[in-house]
């Protein structure tokens, strides 16, 4: 018997204690509340209580999912149907929400699970710690505690051992030790069983997950197309009002110069200077436009150096830390670059930060690009606050990327982005012209 086994058995006992409180206490309570609330739907009160209780049930179930994943690596997918169009205010919205929740089969699976959890779930989580506890009790009895009890009258039972003498007390203690042995051997297995039962009851089916995936893909594809159309419109407008107009002006100046060059050389010279200025302006506008479409450094050097160059362009000092084993897929590089650019600009402009820190890291085993941007500004940023962050999240969604913000009022703000992607194979990148 090695230390590793003892440790995991003891850990399972502690986890079991927590789980048995959750299953007998919380699951049973929620089950009763749900049934009551359902009964009261007829009276109207249920319309208001049901969504609250269903939310609580989901939180309770999600808590168990987290434990399953963290403790025993068992993934239990949620798969609740999202409320289409978000919650609406008023009585109609309340009715809609209740009906939506009650129509979701996941709700009923949860309720069924609550009941089973309160019984079978309780037993599987009770044993890991109760076995140890009982073994301990047997040892305490051996210390002589059995004497006064037996002296007061009759036989005293420890499990199946009647204690009436030192001999039987020792037998009881040995039985206790045997139980502890059982706990040491089977504890993790008991909890694995507990979570597997949970998965069987509330884990979303393959079909369900696929349906959700399709819905998500439809949504992100729609966003991506919308986004690229808007981007093209912006480029068209910029070219039309900028470089194109300047070239027209230049052409006109040159025409006038042609006519003036002999009659009024002074004026022609002046116009020439103007034409040159226009061409320089047009170039500088084109340069800005190009930077907005695909920054040249990104094409030339990849995300790491592009982020460094970007940091050097920022108004505030940015400390950059990059750990990339090579170049990433081009669309991901570009999306990541613009996300970083937007977040750093936010930090300088809205958060009035004095400094920022940028970390870019590629996790080769998880095949994930992770970007963390911290600033010491005044915080208070959120996805809901109508900042560009929501749009950013949608654009990252096209890559199955996620964005998380922690920004308490008063700062600091931490924005984390994760994008699943693989490294570009050298030589497979398209040549850029």
């Amino acid at each position: 018997m090695n230390g590793q086994r003892v440790r995991s058995a003891l850990l399972a006992a502690a986890q079991g204690l927590l789980l048995s409180l959750l299953s007998l206490g919380v699951s049973l309570l929620l089950f009763i509340l749900f049934v009551l609330s359902l009964v009261f739907v007829g009276l109207g009160i249920g319309l208001f209580t049901t969504p609250v209780i269903v939310d609580a049930i989901r939180a309770h179930a999600n808590q168990r999912r987290t434990f399953a994943k963290d403790w025993y690596g068992i993934s239990i997918h949620a798969g609740y149907r999202p409320l289409p169009g978000g919650p609406r205010p008023g009585l109609a919205g309340q009715v809609e929400r209740t009906v939506h929740m009650l129509k979701d089969p996941a709700t009923w699976r949860d309720v069924g699970w609550l009941f089973v959890d309160a019984v079978a779930g309780f037993v599987t989580s009770l044993l890991p710690w109760a076995l140890f506890g009982y073994a301990l009790y047997g040892l305490v009895l051996l210390c002589g505690v059995w004497q006064p009890i037996v002296g007061a009258g009759g036989t005293f039972w420890f499990a199946f051992v009647p204690i009436s003498s030192w001999f039987t007390a020792v037998l009881a203690a040995l039985t206790g030790l045997a139980l502890a042995g059982v706990a040491l051997r089977w504890n993790p297995l008991l909890l694995t069983g507990h979570f597997q039962m949970t998965r069987a009851l509330i884990g979303a089916s393959e079909k369900r997950l696929l349906a959700q995936r399709v819905a998500r893909l439809t949504e992100t594809r729609h966003d991506a197309l919308d986004n690229s159309a808007a981007e093209l419109r912006r480029i068209e407008r910029d070219l039309h009002d900028g470089a194109q107009a300047r070239l027209v002006a230049m052409g006109m100046s040159l025409g006038t110069i042609e006519a003036l060059i002999e009659k009024d050389p002074e004026q022609a010279k002046h116009l020439l200077a103007q034409a040159r200025e226009n061409s320089a302006e047009a170039l500088s506008e084109l340069r800005d436009l190009v930077r907005g479409i695909h920054p040249p450094v990104l094409a030339e050097r990849g995300l790491g150096d592009a982020a460094r160059a970007l940091a050097l362009r920022m108004q505030l000092p940015v400390e950059v830390d990059v750990e990339l084993p090579g170049r990433l897929e081009e669309p991901v590089e570009s999306a990541a670059y613009f996300a970083i650019s937007e977040i750093l600009t936010n930090a300088a402009k809205h958060a009035e930060a004095e400094r920022a820190w940028l970390d870019i890291y590629y996790n080769g085993t998880a095949r994930t690009l992770r970007i963390a941007i911290t600033d010491n500004g005044r915080g208070g940023a959120s996805l809901e606050a109508g900042s560009g962050l929501r749009g950013l999240e949608r654009r990252l969604g096209a890559f199955d990327g996620v964005l998380a913000i922690s920004s308490p009022a008063g700062g600091p703000t931490l924005v984390t982005i994760e994008i699943p992607c693989s490294l570009a194979e050298p030589g497979h990148r398209t040549a850029l012209r």
């Binding site: 170039l283 340069r287 450094v297 030339e300 362009r313």
Partner: protein, 215 residues
């Protein structure tokens, strides 16, 4: 003066060749790709190389890499890098060896033929020619409060900008329409405020300023 020119766009290469020949430069080679540039720099050992950052075959920063490589083999080989965009990151890499004889300009600067030729000559002579945009990027950064840079007067900022481009006191005086003595006073003020050792050598003082700004 013998020049090696590397630019992949025919129109620009042709224009540059004509411009340089009109100013009595001798074109030793005009190439349109990275490997060609590396060969030309090694075989011809020109007085100055004018190089576009982005070159075939990779269309990344091939030109810059070739130039840096050649400079590591021939220390101080004068190189003027041209690009459609300027980045402090690249400027830093070019200046890193501290040997001078480097230039980094936007392609637009070719428009002003006199200034461009002046820059080429300066680089060939071992000086520096940094694009004003590089300096502006440096000065635009808010370095927190009370940095020495914030203590410069607007006039001194103008002077440091020109100084960092690689101009001599005389050239700065001409540009700002002041006397050379006034410029000398400004520069010595700047050196004091930034805590740099005073220097008369144009190249050394540019490097001093840029090193200071890159901190």
């Amino acid at each position: 003066m013998r020049v090696v020119l590397a630019e992949d766009l025919f129109l620009l290469r042709d224009g540059l060749v004509r411009l340089l020949e009109a100013h009595d430069f001798q074109i030793a080679a005009a190439v349109d790709n990275g490997p060609g540039l590396t060969r030309a720099l090694a075989d011809l050992r020109p007085d100055v190389a004018i190089v576009d950052v982005r070159l075939p075959p990779s269309f990344t920063d091939e030109g810059l890499q070739c130039a840096l490589q050649a400079r590591s083999e021939q220390p101080g080989l004068p190189v003027l890098v041209l690009s459609q965009h300027v980045e402090r990151l690249y400027a830093r890499e070019l200046l890193a060896d501290g040997n001078g004889g480097v230039g980094y300009l936007l392609k637009d600067r070719v428009f002003d033929a006199d200034q461009f030729i002046d820059a080429v000559r300066r680089v060939a002579a071992g000086g520096t020619a940094m694009d004003p945009q590089v300096i502006q990027q440096l000065l635009a950064q808010r370095g927190g409060h009370n940095t020495p840079l914030e203590r410069l007067t607007p006039r001194e900022r103008e002077v440091i900008e020109l100084m960092a481009q690689g101009r001599s006191n005389a050239a700065i005086a001409e540009r700002l329409v002041v006397t050379e003595r006034a410029v000398a006073k400004h520069t010595s003020n700047i050196f004091t405020k930034l805590g740099l050792p005073p220097s008369d050598d144009d190249n050394r003082r540019v490097l001093a300023v840029l090193t200071y700004l890159e901190r």
